[in-house]
């Protein structure tokens, strides 16, 4: 990612006007329309969008109607970029009709998910005509909607690649290879964090993080050298520390967040008394 992309270059993005359900709003040129619309309070449902990841367009819930040269078409707002004068509608009868069927499909696919039930109910869908998927052995507890966020975060952001899609079509599931514990898992828990339906079960116990949904893999937790608390997976802290410069890295190794904050505060006070700041964090290369 370049500095431009993360907005550090200092040149402000050009601002454009887009029209959402007849209301004029400002957006950055090229900004994802879903993101702009949500900021403006539009009620567009979505399950697979995450700003830090590449556009994916799989849940199809964020469909909006675009009016272009008098012709309308339905597109997903999460793959649509803002341009000057872009006009979208979020609740035409057509969109409502198709979105409701999609909600019914979700209710059948993830019958155990309260998040889905609540989301569907918000748009007036409370029952499904389709056969509900019942799988009592599902490690994701009948709540996965295959939005792919966990897989993408694990691969694209964490770079661990511990989980992926298995099979295809209606048999697609998310899991580790052969559904066994995967030593590539660093136990970061980003998957569980990003999951919109809270389907992923992770538990910290006895100094270990247990990945219940991922073949029961176990990752040792690091223990704080000062207070003795288990605070994060060892592999994850190692990966994080590797990004820091030696003086700070050595200072922070083996500390829980609370003790770390205390240590940094103490350090800052000491440095400031000397009059000057160090750059502790190595800049990321673009």
């Amino acid at each position: 990612m370049t500095h431009e992309e993360i907005g550090l270059s200092g040149t402000p993005k050009k601002s454009v006007t887009i029209v959402i359900d007849g209301r004029k709003c400002r957006a950055d040129e090229g900004e994802i329309v879903l993101s702009a619309a949500l900021r403006e309070g539009a009620a567009i449902p979505h399950l697979c969008y995450e700003a830090s990841l590449d556009p994916y367009g799989a849940c199809r819930l964020c469909m909006v109607e675009v009016c272009h040269n008098g012709k309308t078409s339905m597109v997903t707002a999460c793959t649509l970029h803002a341009t000057e004068g872009l006009e979208i509608r979020t609740d035409t009868p057509e969109i409502v009709k198709y979105r409701n069927v999609l909600f019914e499909l979700y209710l059948a696919e993830a019958p155990k998910s309260d998040v889905i039930k609540e989301m569907a109910a918000r748009y007036g869908v409370t029952r499904t005509r389709f056969l509900k998927k019942i799988d009592t052995d599902d490690p994701l507890g009948g709540s996965c909607v295959l939005c792919g966020l966990c897989v993408r975060v694990c691969n694209e952001i964490m770079g661990a690649g511990a989980i992926g899609f298995v099979n295809r079509g209606p048999y697609t599931v998310v899991g580790t290879p052969f559904f066994e514990a995967n030593t590539d898992c660093i136990g970061c828990g980003a998957c569980a964090n990003v999951c919109p339906t809270h389907a992923i079960r992770i538990e910290d116990r006895d100094g270990e993080r247990v990945m219940h949904s991922w073949g029961g893999g176990r990752v040792r937790l690091a223990q704080c050298g000062v207070c003795g608390k288990y605070y994060a997976p060892g592999a994850l802290t190692a990966a994080t520390l590797a990004r820091l410069l030696p003086p700070l890295r050595d200072d922070l190794a083996g500390l829980c967040p609370a003790c770390r904050a205390k240590r940094i505060a103490d350090e800052e006070i000491r440095v400031n008394m000397r009059g000057g700041a160090d750059h502790h964090v190595r800049p990321r290369r673009s």
Partner: protein, 563 residues
């Protein structure tokens, strides 16, 4: 190397002609996959035994398939000064009789399908075989052939696909030479634009325009790709094009690469086509030996190489973005466009890429050789040229059919195909593979072109035409195709993954006699939703069999549901 290649062409042309019209009898066995499957291999081996044992001065060779698959295995006999004779339904046991006749300067009349006194290879070369054998019907009087117009299949079944000399002898690589040595790349693009050629992979996007966009895209590094992932049930025209005339594809790609400014071309070829892979590999090697691939082709500054990449049999990998993912070694799942393949960042290795179907590439040499205007006069105004269809199912004459676009379904199914097999009544056809619609016989005056097929709820697709007769249950047909699409869905987006599954469940329920009128409404609404909301073409088109059978054969559904 370069000079040698240039000098080579006339020599190879002469050598090729000597092989096509030797001064001794020539026996050529149709050995595309269809011929081999019907026993052509055994016939060929038997010829080897008998000719070898008798010490005859007879040339034995192979050809591809002329398209009349019902009549396989076929054998061509060329006796000097006589017409080429096509024998049909030849069995290994017939071989002795054939050789005996040929030794006497004759052919076994009762095995003859037709004779060909001269054959026009369209690009300016007509091979004159000779006269006589008047008792055998002429090629153009055989009803399966008489309504056809061979442009792409002009060489199929006549030349040996494993011998570059024979391709050159019938005008091959002349178009590539013209393009590279006499035309600017822009002029080549303009010629293709003038021809009106549209993509034969299904969507009918104007080929010249796609080339122009790719040519104009910034960057020096560009790719061209041939989509040979043909995976529609019942469709095998691309297979035959590659097996019967692989050099036509290679020549089309050379011309396209030159026009677009690509130095590398890839053929994405499904692993289920081993013979096509073998013949293309051989053809590429021969073209390289002749200096038609590699560096400084025809002594110009243009370098070009072709590589074959085999796909692992996923239907969705025929979709452009999934195809790229598959070549790059990622899971073959489509992603939203833009970026398009022709954009920077969207193509292979993020470089602008032009993707065209096998048959699209095969149309290119004749366009350059005979001109875009010549091509545009075939077919209709917005649908120029010919298209190859595989006519299969419950039809009397099964085979590959090449007709001008705009030909009616009536002509294809009744005049060429002779209606239902075993005299049964034809009820409908399904065009465009698993994602096409079913068209009832009362709409058979529909001209077969991109727009008119869409108008009746179907698609051109890659050109499969499956005929259904009075005994076919249309609900079962819909279920068959939905079952195929469900199994091939990549599973990424919810309408296709979940929606097709529930479509299938509903169809199963209806077929079992347990459905209700309400289920039919749900089925219609669901199919409509999948069509409108899916991410890629697979899901967007997969409901077509359901939607069209619901529209045209609702009574068959009605008969199955509980009142």
């Amino acid at each position: 190397m370069t000079g040698a290649a240039e000098a080579d062409l006339p020599a190879r042309e002469a050598a090729g002609l000597r092989k096509l019209k030797p001064d001794r009898p020539r026996i050529a066995v149709g050995l595309a996959t269809c011929g081999a499957a019907m026993g052509g291999d055994r016939v060929y081996r038997r010829f080897q035994e008998i000719i070898g044992a008798g010490g005859d001065d007879i040339m034995l060779t192979k050809t591809g398939c002329i398209g009349y698959c019902r009549e396989e295995p076929q054998v061509n006999i060329t006796i000097p000064g006589r017409p080429l004779v096509i024998l049909h339904r030849v069995d290994a046991d017939d071989v002795e009789e054939i050789v005996t006749a040929v030794r006497a300067g004759e052919v076994p009349y009762e095995m003859a399908l037709c004779r060909v006194p001269s054959w026009d290879h369209v690009t300016g070369t007509t091979v004159e075989y000779g006269g006589g054998f008047d008792r055998i019907p002429l090629y153009q009087d055989v009803r399966f052939f008489s309504h056809q117009k061979k442009v792409v299949l002009r060489n199929a079944g006549f030349i040996n696909p494993e011998d570059i000399d024979e391709y050159i002898a019938v005008g091959g690589y002349a178009a590539a030479k013209t393009a590279l040595t006499e035309m600017e790349p822009d002029a080549v693009v303009a010629e293709v634009e003038r021809s009106g050629l549209r993509g034969r992979g299904g969507a009918g996007f104007p080929t010249g325009l796609k080339w122009r966009i790719t040519r104009k895209a910034p960057g020096d590094e560009k790719y061209i790709i041939c989509n040979a992932d043909e995976g529609d049930p019942g469709a095998y025209m691309n297979r035959n094009e590659m097996e019967s005339d692989p050099h036509m594809l290679i020549e089309g790609m050379i011309i396209g690469a030159y026009a677009i400014g690509a130095r590398e071309g890839l053929i994405y070829l499904r692993a289920e086509y081993p013979l096509a892979i073998r013949r293309l590999e051989l053809a590429i090697a021969q073209a390289r030996t002749c200096g038609l691939l590699g560096e400084r082709i025809f002594g110009t500054g243009f370098d070009f190489e072709i590589r074959i990449v085999t796909g692992a049999g996923a239907f969705v990998c025929g979709e452009s973005t999934a195809l790229i993912a598959s070549i790059e070694g990622r899971t073959g799942r489509p992603h939203p466009r833009p970026p398009r393949l022709t954009d920077i960042g969207g193509g292979l290795w993020k470089k602008p890429t032009d993707l065209n179907n096998v048959e699209t590439w095969c149309n290119v040499p004749v366009i350059i050789q005979n001109g875009g205007d010549w091509y545009a006069r075939i077919g209709t105004e917005k649908n120029t040229g010919t298209k190859v269809f595989s006519l299969v199912g419950k039809v009397d004459r099964v085979g590959l059919v090449e007709v001008p676009l705009g030909t009616s379904l009536n002509t294809i199914v009744f005049d060429i195909g002779n209606g239902g097999s075993q005299g049964k009544k034809v009820k409908a056809v399904q065009t465009g593979g698993p994602s096409g619609g079913c068209i009832p016989v009362r709409l058979f005056d529909t001209p077969v072109d991109y727009e008119n097929l869409n108008r009746v709820g179907s698609i051109m697709g890659s050109g499969g035409i499956v005929v259904m007769d009075e005994e076919t249950n249309m609900v079962d047909i819909a279920r068959y195709f939905v079952n195929f699409a469900t199994g091939e869905s990549c599973g990424k987006c919810v309408p296709c993954r979940e929606g097709l599954k529930h479509t299938l469940l509903l169809l199963n329920k209806i077929m079992a006699g347990k459905g209700t009128e309400k289920d039919l409404d749900t089925l219609g609404l669901l199919a409509d939703t999948i069509q409108k909301t899916s991410l890629c073409g697979l899901g967007q088109l997969a409901p077509n069999p359901v939607l069209t059978t619901l529209a045209y054969f609702r009574e068959e559904y009605g008969a199955l549901v509980k009142k």
